[in-house]
Amino acid sequence: MLSFSPSEEQQMIVNTVKQFANDVMRKKFRECDEEGRIPAEIIDTAWDLGLVVSCIPEEYGGAGWEHSALTGTLLAEELAWGDLSMAIHILSPWLGVLPIVEMGTAEQKKKYLPLVCGGKFVPATAALVEPRYNFDHNDLGTVAKKNGGYTINGEKCFVPLAQDAAFTLVYAGDGGSSQCFIVDKGAKGVAVGEREQNMGIKGLATYGLSFNGCKVPAENKLGGERGCDFKRLINLSRVAVSSMAVGVARGAFEFSRDYAKDRYAFGEPIGSRQAVAFMLADMAIEIDAARLLNWEAAWLVDKHEEATRECCLSKAYADNMVMQCTDYGVQVMGGHGYIRDNPVELWFRNGRGFVAFTGLAIV
């Protein structure tokens, strides 16, 4: 039966996260962007919501809910509405955990899942993106060579929380396809680079990683010898990042809409002019459009059906949508949108990043 209503359980999660985003994240997001750090107490409060451990089986210390990408998109939108840097930070353990929950061997689950199920936030992360303009996740420059175990060589970037991560899932070429390897903290042959400086997501600590003859035991290949379903992981990430784009765009829309009602020019609110009002209408339409595409893609992913096309459409649409909406957010506010006293320039900077963010989040 076709329906566009979240379940009661999903609605409860959304309400909780929405409140957290509004009461906690929105109070500090500008400071985080300016200072390049996220206060530990915010991360701790988010941890206490229990989002991350929700879909880890109980036997490994989690809450044992059934994993749902659709539920993930609902909460990721709200978190990203609060702040994108914090959202990626808060959900970063999923980068390490969800692929293991879905595709890991029994030993991998036993060894790694409990690491993030303690009473406090423990970062885990993934290294997918590589520092080149024509980066292609299907044709990775980082390579794992089999010789008993695996030896990894290559360069990664955009690795959230790499410095402190309990473990990192490293994606590398392996016999012509992309595979995933679990690399322990402090493994030899891995150099964590300087913290990266980007146009946006400045609150989030991301790093480059260099792999130089890094040896990984054979049993650390995700899913064992058979490997993992890499296409599905990309789908899960495309869905996650798209929902965050919706959250960021919604933030820009709501803020500039309110401004357009309050700001007077020529004796009336600027929102009384179609030139401004139509930008806001387009934003409202495009945000809903992107969200529905996102939901449908996530729904397909949850059904374990072939969803590459839908996830691609959702992500491509969301990438354009979020840039357009965050741009309009600045444009509606004019000069006031350009100054850092107002948040739309921050969302505008974050908006452009989405085209490159596949791999930075997973739901």
Partner: protein, 393 residues
């Protein structure tokens, strides 16, 4: 629970509509495009004889998806199919139970009939408050006077069948919008005359006519809604309730034509052996792949917005905002996608040997009728800003 799955029964109905589109509409699609104003009698008879299947009601999610399928076959022939149409939708949305019986029962008996709606006049289109047609009370009757243009299916409703037309007229010009009311006029009523048949850019199988009213007398009870002129908005509530249904319905029409163009484009691309690589990052995709992905995602997004508006209607939620969103989006998407399909196919797209150019012409009307894209954007803007029509003109 968010769910995009249709039941097996729903899928079967949609498939049935698709079969009609493919086997009945598509083979004669070009013929009726090139023979404007000729009667597609076989199609009319077939659609009338199969009316119980609900192909053209357009109500609900499944109804809308059936309309989408028929318009995939041919948008003009869909409009030409007998049924209550926009006039019927207005009666359904704003009429009483008695009026449903009196005016809608006919669409289920006897010979083929059509319903039409008359709002636009030579001097006003989107600005319906400027309507000049009048309805004057005379005892147990209303007397209608005025001229209506761009009446879709007016010829078949009034000249070729015992159909109905819903006419918008003012009962009190001084009251402005509040004085605007809608009236049902039955075919054959003296004083009503179908005049000019328009020659159009597309949807040529449908007729679009001028209807004049010269002291046309109709029973008092033919008014939809209340006769009194009350609050400022009262008079337009009926029209607005109609739009909640008809806007997503027109969105479905737009999406049907557009998917026809997309499907044909994909067939041609497949024939060339080109594979669209959805799994590649954007930077590695070709211009063609990017275009296809943009067109497909745009179509899919508009389709989901349309389904949401219809689903809301079916589950008793107010959908005025979402209905306008879906119409604005689908009209624009249809325009852009069908034009791009012609562009991508080059000389083949432009040639009348193929249907791409026809899809582009047929699609364009969807960004115009039932509220232009701009009017629907204005409705969305007012609603998201919480502005009245005086605050946002």
């Amino acid at each position: 629970m968010i769910d995009f799955e249709l039941t097996a029964e729903e899928k079967a109905k949609i498939q049935e509509a698709h079969d009609v589109a493919e086997k009945q509409f598509r083979p004669v699609s070009r013929f009726y495009d090139e023979h404007e104003h000729e009667e597609p009698q076989d199609i009319i008879d077939f659609m009338w004889n199969n009316r119980a299947k609900g192909f053209v009601t357009g109500l609900g999610v499944v109804g809308a998806m059936m309309v989408e399928e028929l318009c995939w076959g041919d948008a003009g022939l869909y409009l030409a199919s007998p049924g209550p149409g926009l006039g019927g939708a207005a009666v359904f949305a704003a009429g009483t139970k008695e009026q449903w019986g009196k005016f809608l029962a006919r669409f289920n008996e006897g010979k083929p009939k059509w319903g039409a709606m008359a709002m636009t006049e030579p001097g006003c289109g989107s600005d319906t408050s400027a309507i000049q047609a009048t309805a004057t009370r005379d005892g147990d009757y209303w007397v209608l006077n005025g001229e209506k243009i761009f009446v879709t299916m007016g010829h078949r409703a009034l000249d070729l069948s015992e159909g109905i037309i819903v006419v918008w007229a003012s009962v009190d010009k001084a009251a402005g919008r509040a004085g605007m009311k809608s009236f049902v006029v039955e075919a054959g009523t003296p004083g009503m005359k179908v005049e000019k048949k328009e020659k159009k850019l597309g949807i040529k199988a449908s007729d679009t006519v001028t209807v004049t009213f010269d002291n046309c007398r109709i029973p008092f009870s033919n008014i939809l809604g209340k006769a009194e002129v009350k609050s400022k908005t009262e008079g337009f509530k009926g029209a607005m309730a109609t739009f909640d249904v008809t806007r997503p319905m027109v969105a479905a029409q737009a999406l049907g034509v557009t998917r026809a163009a997309l499907d044909m484009l994909r067939e041609e691309i497949d024939r060339q052996g080109i594979v669209i690589r959805y799994d590649l990052p954007r930077s590695k995709q070709t211009a063609l792949e990017r275009d296809i992905i943009e067109m497909e995602s745009n179509w899919r997004a508009a389709h989901l917005l349309m389904l949401r508006a219809m689903w809301q209607l079916g589950s008793g939620q107010s959908n005025a905002l979402e209905a306008s969103m879906s119409k604005a989006k689908a009209g624009r998407a249809a325009t852009l996608i069908t034009q791009r399909a012609v562009e991508l196919m080059g000389p083949l797209g432009y040639s009348r040997k193929y249907l791409f150019e026809k899809f582009m012409r047929d699609a364009k009307i969807n960004d115009i009728f039932e509220g232009t894209g701009q009017i629907n954007t204005l409705v969305v803007a007012r609603r998201v800003l919480g502005f009245t029509r005086d605050q946002l003109k």
